[in-house]
């Protein structure tokens, strides 16, 4: 730096230094101390048993045994070490690497699991069952968040995922009952979801109504409409209208016997297999094809896409419609796989959790899939822990999925970047 004039002898104020944020070191430190006190020193005396395979599986593996208190202390020390590393990096003026909070979260959840299981009446849990059940509960979330990915990538915020799930669930139950065919029900659910989405598309793209407001209104509308039809049509004549044919579980021979992986990947309904296909297709479509390049261009910089002859609003309309169809299929899972009939509000807010999964998954189909699995895990943990009888109050357990959501979305893994034009209507000129 060169200055042509000499600096004036005026006293300068104290100079403060800039350091990286303390957010990560402090939160890791506090959490690891909590783990040390509760999971370690106040930890249960029993030993937690984690079963890896079920009796009668093709390969039986021994269960993992972890003493409640000793295991708690060991895991807490591991957590403290990670927190200390984070503080050390901070003191050197560096930021914590991204893997650190993730690794911390995994170990913390495992310590929590050991603490809860060892303190339960029946200190034994099937790890394989826990994970397989998580996948089952995650399926609607995955479809919902894929819908969100498709809509936001093209520049439309889809708050109406909840309505699309609910519409899909209702239509699937009704049609599968009337036609006695679950597959027709599945298709009808997709159509219902697409219909809800088209309303969102028309109002937000053509009439430029605020997308959040249209989405919220649609959720309320679908909830009211399905509730009304349930009360007036389904409930009075359950046999005729609300005993849908089921989507059978189709295990793939041999492969489904592999411990842990088998039940997750190879023991699903058609919709379950469809989920894996959908994640792969949406990912390849978005990032490897002409269609995807245009979709992302429209979501990032619609005016640029327009100047290259891409029809922005048509692209948006059809993508949002497709997203609705996918969410509709997700809704069908409730009535055709998980539960055997439709009830009011059967989706129970999972559309909003799917929205969170999409953000946590950083607008990426695979990220959204993994985030959905995490939330599915939280749902499943809640129900399994209720069964083995933990000392933790059931109300607290019921909060678990939502707590996980808040912490996940509040950015434990850092800030993420949405498509630049998401939520902004495109008007020429």
């Amino acid at each position: 730096m060169t200055t042509a004039t000499k600096p004036a002898p005026v006293p300068a104020g104290p100079t403060t230094a800039l350091r990286p944020s303390l957010k990560v070191p402090v939160s890791l430190g506090v959490l690891s101390l909590v783990a040390l006190v509760f999971f370690g020193f106040l930890g249960p005396s029993k030993t937690a048993e984690m079963k890896v395979s079920e009796q009668g599986d093709a390969m039986e593996l021994p269960a993992i045994l972890i003493p409640g208190q000793g295991g708690g202390i060991a895991l807490a020390i591991l957590l403290l070490a990670m927190a200390a590393y984070s503080v050390y990096l901070w003191s050197k003026g560096e930021r914590s690497p991204k893997w650190l909070p993730i690794a911390f979260a995994v170990v913390f959840v495992f310590a929590l699991l050991v603490w809860i299981v060892a303190g339960a009446r029946e200190p034994s849990i099937s790890l394989a069952g826990l994970i397989a059940g998580s996948v089952t509960l995650a399926v609607p979330l995955v479809f919902g968040s894929l819908s969100g990915v498709l809509c936001e990538r093209v520049g439309v915020v889809n708050i109406a995922i909840e309505g699309q799930l609910l519409g899909g669930a209702f239509t699937a139950a009704l049609v599968a009952t009337v036609t006695h065919n679950a597959y027709v029900g599945l298709l009808a659910a997709a159509a219902a979801g697409a219909l809800v989405s088209m309303v969102l598309a028309v109002f937000s793209i053509k009439y430029l109504v605020n997308q959040i407001i249209v989405g919220v209104v649609l959720n309320v509308l679908v909830s009211g409409l399905t509730g009304f039809l349930f009360g007036t049509v389904m409930a009075p004549d359950k046999e005729l209208f609300n005993t849908p044919a089921r989507l059978d579980i189709l295990p793939i021979p041999f492969l489904s016997d592999i411990p842990i992986i088998g039940p997750i990947l190879f023991e699903q309904s058609v919709a379950g297999y469809l989920m894996y296909v959908a994640v792969a297709v949406v990912w390849v479509g978005l990032f490897k094809t002409r269609w995807g390049l245009r979709v992302r261009a429209v979501g990032e910089h619609p005016q640029a896409a327009d100047t290259l002859g891409i029809n922005v609003n048509a692209t948006r309309f059809w993508n949002v419609t497709l997203g609705g169809a996918i969410a509709g299929i997700g809704g069908a899972i409730f009535t055709l796989v998980t539960i055997d009939s439709f009830t009011k509000e059967i989706s129970g807010g999972r559309g909003f959790i799917a929205l969170a999964a999409l953000i946590f998954g950083r607008w990426n189909p695979i990220g959204a899939f993994l985030a959905s699995l995490l939330f599915g895990f939280a749902y499943n943990l809640q129900s399994i822990l209720g069964i083995i009888g933990t000392p933790v109050p059931s109300q607290f357990m019921a909060m678990l999925p939502y707590l996980v959501t808040i912490f996940a979305v509040a950015g434990l893994v850092g800030r993420s970047r949405p498509p630049a034009a998401s939520g902004i209507p495109y008007v020429k000129g």
Partner: protein, 509 residues
């Protein structure tokens, strides 16, 4: 398809009752650089958007090689051999160069899978032919603005553009990058491409044009040869004689009262957008901060005002530390501040001119007593200021947002100069302001200097810097490249704006 002749006949474009273009005739001969000269808001960009198929003309015809065209969208215009480089680049920042170039005409393998190998090859070919030095696999957001502009030109050339429209292409470039662009334009012309060059900068227009068409308020004023004098051209743009130089008196610097030391501002992404800047300004002196847009000027002025978070260092005014004080305290210390974006930060558009003139003093005597405001005092103040600053407004009660850019800026300037000041900061004081108002605003700034206030001007226009500055500070990537006296040659300033210090050596890191 060989060379193309482009004709616009009687083009009009209306937005509601307002005519942005009225009955415009324009002929672009093949292989020429045809300049459209006009002030901001004269209707140049609207005309080009009509030509590019983005707007449908209200009346008139477009002919390519004598054949009438009906462009329903940019796709049709591109098919007819017209390419456009927009003032705000139409590039997707998170895509690679190849993806941006391919978008809209993507080569694919069977099944719609992208295959960008052909595009990469084309980019490398064009890049080599014109010496662009563009990597097809670089992310656009990582590229300097000048290179992004080349990507835009490549986009048009890959689509076989025979007529290339460049809309204010030099607004974001350093003087050196501008010279390189002018060279590229000459090369393209030699290769048979016609160019429509839109600009309001006389120097560049004269340097490169074959024909100049001047547009004012949506109408063609006339053609001029590139040999016309700058004063002549400026008079055609404005519609009345203008003087292009101020002939200000030399500065009489007094005591140094404003001192900035090691000022650092950290952005959300962790980089220092202002990096250890130190300078001082004496009473009765104008320091102009020059630099290409986005090199920390905005953050520097905002840090002094106190609206930036994550700031370190020291800002002393009259021996008092300003850093860390609330904005209101900073203003009370006698800082007048004209922000660079007046419509967002300088005015409340829907508020009246009179209200905007007291935005900083509304809660103080004489405009307020206790909890009540005194409307009579507010409008009395407005009448006086409207007269003093020659603000052209229907009335003091008109919404400020409805005024022209120049008059909005006069409102902001009138408000900020109405208090006794200890420091005056004006960021881009004449951006988007008509030539007539520029002269007036410049005279007011110099009057404030002569009244003994330290003045800091931030401008990306070297002409403005040269006009006003007593000393010139140049910023590059948040660092101070150096402070040089007024009258430093343009070439030296241009190099400094690219990070090369006044005594040689690069500050790039």
């Amino acid at each position: 398809m060989g060379v193309v002749k482009l004709e616009l006949k009687g083009i009009s474009k209306a937005f509601g009752s307002f005519y942005a273009n009225q009955d415009i005739d324009l002929v672009v001969e093949s292989g020429q650089i045809h300049c459209l000269l006009g002030e901001n808001g004269a209707g140049k960009s609207t005309l080009m958007n009509v030509l590019y198929g983005l707007y449908e003309p209200t009346a008139g015809r477009i002919l390519v090689d004598g054949k009438p065209m009906n462009f329903r969208g940019p796709g049709d215009a591109m098919a007819a051999g017209i390419g456009m480089v927009h003032q705000h680049f139409m590039l997707i920042p998170v895509f690679t160069v190849a993806e941006n170039v391919a978008l809209g005409a993507e080569p694919t393998s069977p099944g719609g899978i992208l295959n960008l190998e052909k595009t990469r090859k084309e980019i490398r070919e064009i890049s080599e032919r014109y010496g662009f030095d563009v990597d097809p696999d670089a992310l656009v957001e990582d590229l300097p603005v000048g290179v992004q502009q080349r990507v835009e030109i490549i986009k048009a050339l890959v689509r076989n553009a025979k007529v290339l429209i460049l809309d204010e292409p030099t607004a974001v470039l350093t003087p050196q990058e501008t010279d390189e662009l002018l060279d590229i334009m000459r090369q393209l012309k030699a290769a048979g491409t016609s160019i429509v060059f839109i600009s309001h900068k006389l120097r560049e227009v004269k340097a490169v044009s074959d024909v100049i068409t001047v547009i004012r308020r949506g109408k063609v004023v006339g053609d001029a040869p590139p040999t016309a004098s700058p004063t002549e051209l400026a008079s055609m743009m404005v519609g009345r004689p203008v003087s292009l130089s101020l002939n200000k008196a030399a500065a009489q610097p007094g005591e140094t009262t404003f001192v900035v030391r090691d000022l650092t501002v950290r952005a959300a992404n962790g980089t220092n957008v202002v990096d250890g800047i130190s300078f001082e300004i004496a009473k009765g002196e104008i320091l102009a901060v020059a630099g290409v847009q986005g090199n920390g000027q905005t953050e520097l002025t905002e840090a002094i005002l106190g609206v930036q978070e994550h700031v370190a260092g020291s800002v002393m005014l009259d021996g008092k530390e300003l850093l860390g004080l609330p904005v209101k305290e900073v203003l009370r210390s006698g800082v007048g501040f004209v922000p660079e974006d007046r419509t967002h930060d300088g005015l409340v558009g829907p508020f009246s001119v009179a209200e905007n003139l007291v935005l900083d003093l509304y809660d103080q005597a004489p405009f307020a007593r206790g909890v009540s405001m005194s409307p009579a005092k507010v409008s009395g103040n407005a009448e006086a200021k409207i007269k003093e600053f020659d603000i052209r407004t229907p009335s003091a009660g008109s919404a400020a947002g409805t005024l022209s850019g120049g008059n909005q800026q006069k409102v902001v300037m009138a408000r900020e100069l109405s208090r006794p000041l200890r420091l005056f900061i004006a960021s881009q004081p004449t951006r988007g302001v008509d030539v007539g108002s520029i002269e007036f605003l410049h005279r007011r700034i110099i009057a404030e200097r002569d009244a003994g206030t330290p003045v800091m001007i931030v401008s990306t226009e070297l002409d403005e810097v040269a006009e006003l500055a007593d000393r010139i500070a140049v910023l590059y990537k948040g660092k101070l490249v150096g402070i040089v006296p007024a009258g430093t040659p343009r070439d030296t300033l241009g190099l400094m704006m690219a990070g090369v210090g006044p005594e040689g050596g690069s500050n790039d890191n």
